[in-house]
């Protein structure tokens, strides 16, 4: 199945009411690729967090910009790239919060980045401010999912 899988692309306007559509798109692709429901849910949440970050930070809630979501299946991994052309935001240089301390100070920011890194196997960033920023999320199939896939 993975060998035949095609690259999938979806482009949305930068509004939070489009997150539901993104989640559905990613959920279907993750299921088709062979991920379990639990793993597919993790991928969906990570992509939601990436898109939410773009809407909040890169576009600062401007509703008429675009976000492109590209799903690239490979043999045993799924790569999802979230692309924008807004303000550069590079969470990879942000300190991963000490969760206990973070919570004890009632801080609400930074949780999305923590979730992305926790839920996915790899999170990579490329950015050119105002031109093209990319967050690339990777998830590998587990051994049992790979067996079920082939």
């Amino acid at each position: 199945m993975a060998g035949k899988a095609q690259k999938l692309t979806k482009t949305i306007e930068s509004r939070t009411d489009n997150l539901l559509e993104v989640r559905e798109f990613v959920l279907q692709a993750s299921r088709r690729f062979g991920f379990s429901e639990e793993e597919a849910s993790k991928i969906v949440l990570a992509v939601d967090e990436a898109c939410t970050n773009v809407i909040k930070h890169a576009y600062q809630y401007a509703p008429d910009r675009t976000i492109e979501i590209v799903i690239q299946p490979e043999k045993s991994s799924l790569h999802i790239t979230v692309i924008d052309d807004g303000k550069a935001f590079n969470p990879s240089v942000a300190r991963l919060p000490d969760l206990k301390q973070h919570l004890s100070h009632y801080r609400r920011g930074g949780l999305g980045i923590y979730l992305m890194r926790t839920l996915m196997d790899k999170v990579e960033y490329k950015y050119a401010p105002g031109k093209r920023n990319e967050v690339r999320l990777t998830k590998y199939l587990t051994a049992s999912e790979s067996r079920a896939q082939s």
């Binding site: 939070t16 539901l20 939410t52 969760l99 919570l103 009632y106 609400r108 949780l111």
Partner: protein
């Protein structure tokens, strides 16, 4: 298409917020408004019943963070109940069980509020 609904009910000295559907960056303001209204009405013993909550992202979790300090300063609390395993996992990943009391059933949270009131 899934939806999100916040419904508030009062009883037994506590206010209960029922959540239904998905709680993300789009719907989080609805929950913020519900908490804000409770604080305005000086209702600080709050249970959030998550029985019909199907999805939560960090934007939704952030709402709980935004109000817990004010609620506890006023000798109240936000307790959570009836979470599905999927929703609980997200709370758990972020360490929320350290900060919030999470009960299997709403009634257990009600009893806890009453015990704390007597103490």
């Amino acid at each position: 298409m899934a939806d999100f609904k916040v419904h508030q009910r009062d009883g037994e000295g506590v206010s209960v917020i029922d959540l239904k559907g998905y709680l993300d960056a789009h719907t989080a303001p609805d929950l913020e408004n519900a908490f804000q209204k409770l604080l305005t009405d000086r209702k600080y013993n709050i249970i959030v019943n998550c029985k019909d909550l199907t999805y939560i992202s960090s934007a939704g979790l952030g709402v709980f963070m935004a109000f817990i300090e004010d609620v506890r300063k006023n000798k109240g609390d936000i307790k959570l109940s009836n979470m599905s395993p999927k929703v609980y996992n997200v709370f758990d990943l972020l360490g929320f069980p350290i900060l919030y009391e999470i009960y299997r059933e709403e009634q257990e949270a009600v009893v806890k509020f009453h015990e704390q009131k007597r103490a």
